[in-house]
């Protein structure tokens, strides 16, 4: 159906892998931060709130630059992770996943936080009187009731990660097969003479991918919503 060249397929599959890994790793943090912001009062909450939303308002190039100087090979965090755990971000697809995850994080946290705020705390109290400790209450009541919000957050993060461009290209450059996502590939193709046709194919594919993601997430969210409300 899509007459993509092997190089173009590589970019598509790489984009999917990066977006999936970014979403999967961001999710536990998204739930934890969403829970902290929804339920807890603590010193520095406003600061945390602001930090979480920062990638949404900063120019992506700035986020990419900050990632480069902190998670790059010579950056303090990057050097530490490379020396002690062998985890390298710079100019690798893992670095692309990191930048995509961070760019998608604010979009993930918001619906999760709203869903947690909407939960009837009296149900958690009831679960407590039935013998469930705090962690079990969270697992069996809070988390399932917040599921529609968690799915919405994950989908938004995934979508953002799939299309991320500025922070990623600043942080890990544009290396075919390693860090060249769909967006970066389209950008590259547009720079070379005669690349328009290939760029057009990728653009078309990006549109189909985005639509498919929307339909699938809508279906999941509706099902989860119905489950939660007991329909």
């Amino acid at each position: 159906m899509f007459d993509l060249s092997p190089a173009e397929w590589t970019a598509v599959l790489l984009s999917l892998r990066i977006a999936l890994v970014a979403t999967a790793f961001a999710l536990p943090f998204g739930i934890a931060i969403g829970w902290l912001l929804a339920r807890k009062k603590f010193w520095g909450k406003t600061l945390l709130d602001g930090l979480v939303y920062l990638p949404l308002v900063l120019p992506p190039v700035v986020t990419g630059y900050l990632l480069l100087i902190s998670f790059g090979r010579k950056g303090p965090i990057g050097a530490f992770l490379a020396d002690h755990f062998g985890i390298v971000f710079s100019f690798r697809w893992t670095g692309a996943a990191l930048s995509c995850g961070i760019m998608g994080f604010p979009l993930m946290v918001r619906p999760i936080r709203l869903a947690l705020e909407a939960i009837d705390r009296r149900l958690e109290e009831a679960a407590g009187t039935l013998g469930a400790g705090r962690f079990l209450v969270f697992l069996t009541i809070t988390l399932p009731l917040a599921l529609p919000g968690i799915i919405a957050g994950a989908v938004l993060c995934f979508a953002r990660a799939l299309g991320e461009f500025g922070a990623t290209i600043t942080f890990v450059s544009n290396i075919p097969g390693e860090t060249q996502t769909i967006s970066a590939a389209i950008y590259t193709l547009m720079q070379i003479p005669g690349g328009d046709a290939a760029a057009g194919r990728l653009v078309l594919f990006a549109i189909v991918l985005a639509l498919a993601a929307l339909v699938v997430s809508e279906w999941f969210a509706r099902r989860a919503g119905m489950r939660v409300q007991g329909q």
Binding site: E125, G128, T129, G131, G230, Q231
Partner: protein, 230 residues
């Protein structure tokens, strides 16, 4: 035999509560007008609200003692609580709601116990449904069953009929009377309706403005007609 001994003080803004009473087996009614502090008392017994001073003892177990610094969390008190609103879990079926307490305590399935309580409350035909699809009376029966199936040492019922219309009240009361006569678990039953309590109570503790003003048999219900006052 004394099952429950409460001696607790609590300040909530301008409202001052200081109660002292004991409950034996059977049904102890906490009776009084709205705002007397009845729900505050059961919340303290359940562990949802810590008293400022005093102690709460269930059987031979100290649940709360301000002086000794003891405050057993709700999930370790083994006290069933039927709330004014049913508080059933909307994402679980009736069967899963009923099973919740057993699962949380890690006990193995007891089909006899389950069947007995399902029959007692007549909810066998509802098991696979979601709470949303039940009537108010059915929901409250399931809530009673859910609290009973955790095998509580004490069952708290806070105005369990308050959210129901007159017809539904008549529908549920017989089940609660049956439960009392079954006599396996002592109950503390909160209500402001003397008529309701006449049917079910075995002992009455009258509360007013945060104090126990009288304690004794069900003849206390006749002394004042709070029903008519409201």
């Amino acid at each position: 035999m004394i099952v429950l001994a409460v001696d607790a003080e609590k300040e909530l803004g301008a409202f001052k509560l200081a109660v002292r009473f004991e409950a034996a087996g059977g049904v102890t009614a906490l009776f009084g007008p709205s705002g007397a502090g009845k729900t505050t008392v059961v919340n303290m017994i359940a562990g949802l609200l810590p008293p400022d001073r005093g102690s709460i003892v269930l059987g031979d177990k100290v649940l709360f003692d301000a002086a000794a610094g003891i405050n057993v969390p709700p999930h370790r008190r083994h006290i069933g609580y039927v709330f004014q609103e049913d508080r059933l879990f909307p994402h679980l079926s009736v069967r899963q709601n009923l099973d919740y307490g057993r699962r949380m305590s890690g006990r193995s399935r007891d089909a006899d116990d389950f069947a007995r309580i399902v029959a007692l409350l007549d909810i066998g035909h509802l098991l696979e449904r979601r709470p949303r699809l039940l009537s108010g009376g059915e929901r409250q029966r399931v809530a009673v069953g859910r609290a009973l199936l955790m095998r509580p040492g004490l069952l708290l019922l806070d105005e369990p009929l308050a959210s129901l219309d007159a017809g539904r009240k008549r529908e549920i009361l017989p089940y609660l009377v049956r439960l009392r006569d079954d006599a396996r678990v002592p109950m503390v039953y909160v209500s402001h309706s003397a008529g309701e309590l006449r049917r079910i109570a075995t002992k009455v503790v009258r509360l007013d403005a945060g104090r126990v003003v009288a304690a004794g048999g069900i003849e206390l219900l006749d002394a004042t007609a709070i029903d008519e006052l409201e």
